[in-house]
């Protein structure tokens, strides 16, 4: 392993970079989980199904011949409406129930959303072309010797923009502050007049928007199909490593998972007969659970003596 790194350092750098970029794609999915966990303490099992639903809606609209940007707008509206509906129908009746009950409700939500998406839009695999080519960026490659995918670079930029936007939303806006207040202490938030329902509706709507962005990018990469819902499984190690309630954590966790799995596959994989990419992140996550259960950026539990 080391001899390869030494003989061809540029190749190692390239592997890591392309890993980082695919990691950003994981981050996009993880962001939706982190957002809802932060605001309500619920692990939304249905986020993967949200991604599938969003992508299917978008691609079906495109196939109907609707203009690209109009399709984006309509899908956005659908996801926002769906997020609000989830709050109304699923969460509102369960306010103040133990978190495990809310979690179980999201498992039901997961199956429902998967079923709904496929009932509405069918089960075929659709190709999705966003107009961004998944080819190496030759100009950069010729200049530096690093050949990175244009598509992944664009995805990274989009993810970066979303993270900055979310960070600003959380720290600078009234609703963002209220959201953090709610995640700290539901009852105290109610006592100062923050309407929980309203805040939760906003959270789920934003999670719907993130699902759409993730669904579009992943759909373009893998094709829009049922397996998009399984992306949730890839987001899990990302969240464990980054911290469930942290936006930054979702990003850094994604980068770590992406870079380490590609690196492990290329340089350690041969010793295990390959294909370790699929399970390596889970090993990493297990190690984190042992030594730093709140993740890298998870909010520390403040204990007072």
């Amino acid at each position: 392993m080391l001899d390869v790194v030494i003989t061809d350092p540029l190749f190692a750098v390239e592997v890591i970079f392309s890993g980082l970029l695919s990691g950003i794609m994981y981050s996009l999915v993880a962001l939706g989980f982190a957002l809802i966990f932060k605001a309500s303490g619920i692990f939304n099992f249905g986020q993967g199904a949200f991604v599938l639903f969003a992508a299917l809606t978008f691609v079906s609209l495109l196939n109907m011949g609707i203009n690209f940007w109009l399709a984006v707008l309509i899908s956005l509206a659908v996801m926002i409406a769906y997020g609000i509906a989830v709050e109304r129908v699923v969460l509102r009746p369960l306010v103040n129930q133990p978190l495990i009950i809310l979690f179980m409700a999201t498992i039901g939500l997961n199956f429902f959303t998967e079923g709904l998406a496929q009932t509405l839009w069918g089960t075929e695999v659709h190709a999705l072309d966003l107009g961004i080519p998944d080819v190496p960026w030759n100009a950069l490659g010729d200049a530096t010797g690093l050949y990175l995918s244009v598509f992944e670079l664009v995805a990274a930029v989009i993810a970066g923009v979303m993270v900055v936007a979310l960070a600003l939303f959380f720290s600078k806006t009234r609703t963002g502050r209220a959201l953090r207040a709610v995640s700290d202490d539901h009852q105290a938030a109610m006592s100062v007049g923050i309407p929980l329902q309203h805040i939760w509706a906003v959270t789920w709507a934003v999670a719907g928007i993130i699902a759409l962005v993730a669904g579009m990018l992943w759909g373009a990469k893998l094709g829009v199909q049922f397996s998009l819902a399984l992306l949730a499984l890839k987001a899990l190690p990302v969240l464990i490593i980054g911290g469930f309630d942290s936006i930054e954590g979702a990003i850094v966790g994604g980068l770590i998972v992406g870079a380490s799995e590609k690196f492990a596959e290329v340089f350690i994989g041969p010793y295990f007969g390959g294909a370790i990419e699929n399970w390596f992140p889970y090993v990493l996550a297990t190690i984190f659970l042992l030594f730093r259960p709140q993740g890298l950026f998870g909010e520390r539990i403040i204990e007072r003596v």
């Binding site: 006592s191 100062v192 007049g193």
Partner: protein, 271 residues
């Protein structure tokens, strides 16, 4: 002492049941006059916090319910409103145990208190300075995470946060809890200053009867979900029963059982 016009808050014979089974308040009535400081006194589990939560409507989130009686504020029934509506109308609760938003800074905590206000940033900023003028210590710690400041500072943050909503009535639950006597004194001084200067009325639940009666104008004694005594604060602190059961004075020398225990017997009949 009691004003001839209508009280600001009037709680009328309310009964509260938790989880549809546990009867906690068995007919509590009390009035808070405009500009008053009213103390709700009693031991652990007497129903003080429940009374406050019944007023602020936070009960529902704890599976409690007002099953009988009525609550009016400024002459209008408020028992069906949400906590959010009540805050908009000027009634805000400072919960027992302070409940600051631990991961937010002190300043963010305070600004969150202004959530329901629609009168613009400039006014909120002005009120933030007002809160800092009452609690200079909070200004020093404005950027600290609220989870890491001292208990006294957290209590100040919680009261300051409530002030940011521009309330007319603050329901203050157990402000002395877990604080050093000197700090308790400081908090109560600020309460009475706010009452004088900002004409904020207070309904405060307190176990520390001695301090509460010094600052309040009127007091109610709550036991087992019933009001057993009420009166002007100075009259209550002179009351032999209150002295014996809450202030820890045993009067002068030994007394005959018959003279002293009538209140305890009365307690037994009522329970």
């Amino acid at each position: 002492m009691s004003t001839p016009n209508e009280p600001l808050l009037s709680v009328n014979n309310i009964e509260v049941i938790y989880d549809r089974v546990i009867l906690v308040l068995k007919g509590v009535s009390l009035d808070v006059p405009e500009g008053g400081i009213v103390a709700l006194l009693g031991a652990n589990g007497a129903g003080k916090s429940t009374t406050l939560k019944a007023v602020s409507n936070l009960l529902k989130s704890e599976r409690g319910e007002v099953t009988k009686g009525s609550i009016s504020y400024q002459g209008k029934r408020v028992d069906t409103l949400t906590p959010n509506d009540l805050v908009k109308r000027g009634v805000i609760q400072v919960m027992e145990g302070r409940h600051c938003f631990e991961h937010l800074s002190v300043e963010e905590n305070l600004i969150t208190g202004a959530y329901t206000r629609k009168d613009g940033r400039a006014n909120v900023a002005e009120d933030l300075e007002m809160v800092y003028s009452y609690f200079p210590r909070l200004k020093e710690r404005r950027h600290s995470q609220a989870g890491y400041i001292s208990g006294g500072e957290q209590q100040m943050t919680a009261i300051g946060r409530a002030l940011m909503a521009r309330p007319t009535l603050i329901l203050l639950d157990e402000p002395s809890m877990g604080l050093a006597p000197q700090l308790v004194e400081e908090i109560f001084e600020i309460v009475s200053k706010l009452n004088r200067e900002k004409s904020v009325s207070f309904l405060l639940a307190e176990q520390n009867v001695a301090v509460a009666l010094r600052y309040a104008k009127h007091g109610y004694v709550l036991e087992n979900g019933r009001i057993v005594l009420d009166g002007a604060a100075d009259a209550l602190s002179e009351n032999e029963d209150v002295k014996e059961f809450y202030l820890g004075f045993s009067g002068t020398g030994r007394k005959s059982f018959r003279d002293v225990k009538h209140y305890r017997r009365r307690k037994r009949w009522l329970a």
